[in-house]
Subunit: 213 residues, 2 copies
Amino acid sequence: MARPRTPLLSRERIVTAALQLIDAEGLAALSTRRLATELSVSGPSLYNHFATKDELLDAVVDSVMGEVDLSMFGRDAPWPAALRDWARSYRAALAAHPNIVPVLAQGPGRRPNALRLADAVFGCLVEAGWPRGQATRIGALMRYFVAGSALASFAAGFPEDAGVYDAADYPHLGEAHRLAEHRSAIDEGAFETGLEALLDGLLLRYERTVPRP
Amino acid sequence: MARPRTPLLSRERIVTAALQLIDAEGLAALSTRRLATELSVSGPSLYNHFATKDELLDAVVDSVMGEVDLSMFGRDAPWPAALRDWARSYRAALAAHPNIVPVLAQGPGRRPNALRLADAVFGCLVEAGWPRGQATRIGALMRYFVAGSALASFAAGFPEDAGVYDAADYPHLGEAHRLAEHRSAIDEGAFETGLEALLDGLLLRYERTVPRP
DNA sequence: ACCTGAACACCGTTCAAGT
DNA sequence: ACCTGAACACCGTTCAAGT
């Protein structure tokens, strides 16, 4: 067939299909050939739109970042409230696509939405009176916490069969096999507890170090 | 040659070589064939010791977990101090092997060292008077923070060329290209700031909710 | 510019064969 | 029990060829 009159593919169509595949079958299921098949196209076609598979994955991550709400930073709410809302929105975006989270390891890179996000958080903190160095650190540590909560989903990995938890080896884990029953509730609770602790701790530091306006 | 008198391989030798390869050249460089070559052995030999590549990766992660110091939990230090020491040791272990961090996504699974670690933290908190539900959450959220700090190394991904940060697009990131210069210092500072904030916040909660002994 | 089929070097894994 | 070579189905990517 060669080149069609109207292009069969676009970066956007490819990214959408890739994310769907990753969501449905996991990161390992995403091969360029499989993805091409899903798009009714031959394997090498993708290389007209992305130079490498890594570049495609980068775009997929950035599309997830694009789902994160940043509007709370434009409403001059107090910074802890804005940070709380943003962290929840960020976590919700990652939790909706858990299989992509390991790819976050590459850092913000050149992804426009990731940079927009970093910019918004940093701007909010500086405007609130945080010194720029502190604002950088706080932006980073909030990202740590959110990314970690999406990556290291705690309950998810505990085997469900009680036999694993030999009492002699793990004296305190006797009921850990029950965790799997309500894993998402535990992750949610741990996230909320950690978020509040983090904000409380940061507020203490703020009162100690930032002069009143 | 077939079977040698004394085995050429062992799980331990394979895990050590795999971690070395991952540290030196990244996760993508670890193929079963490449690893086998590194061990002067033919590809399929590994399957006498691990059922799949995933099982091997699991063992590699657990060996890193084995580097985490847990001795602070046996010294009846106050729980915030023990948690602080443990978090630092945990982070140091992951920072020493950053390329393996994405694999943590699989959760503690059946990895004995990961389970031992979860057990120690949980036990310390329960002994300090935290209700079991809270202790579970706190163990999880501490892991989130540490895993996230190793995964989402904030500064690492910022491109070094200033041209990326068009002032119109990212009004607050004008100096972000300088981050790369001292990325590890920033990550370290963000981790320490977050850790203190987290512990301060948890201590507040402790004083509010846990009755004095 | 954008798609195709053929091709290259490389995967993870299975299996029969050897000792 | 533990290693080997051969084989299978599958990768990411390149490239010349087509419109």
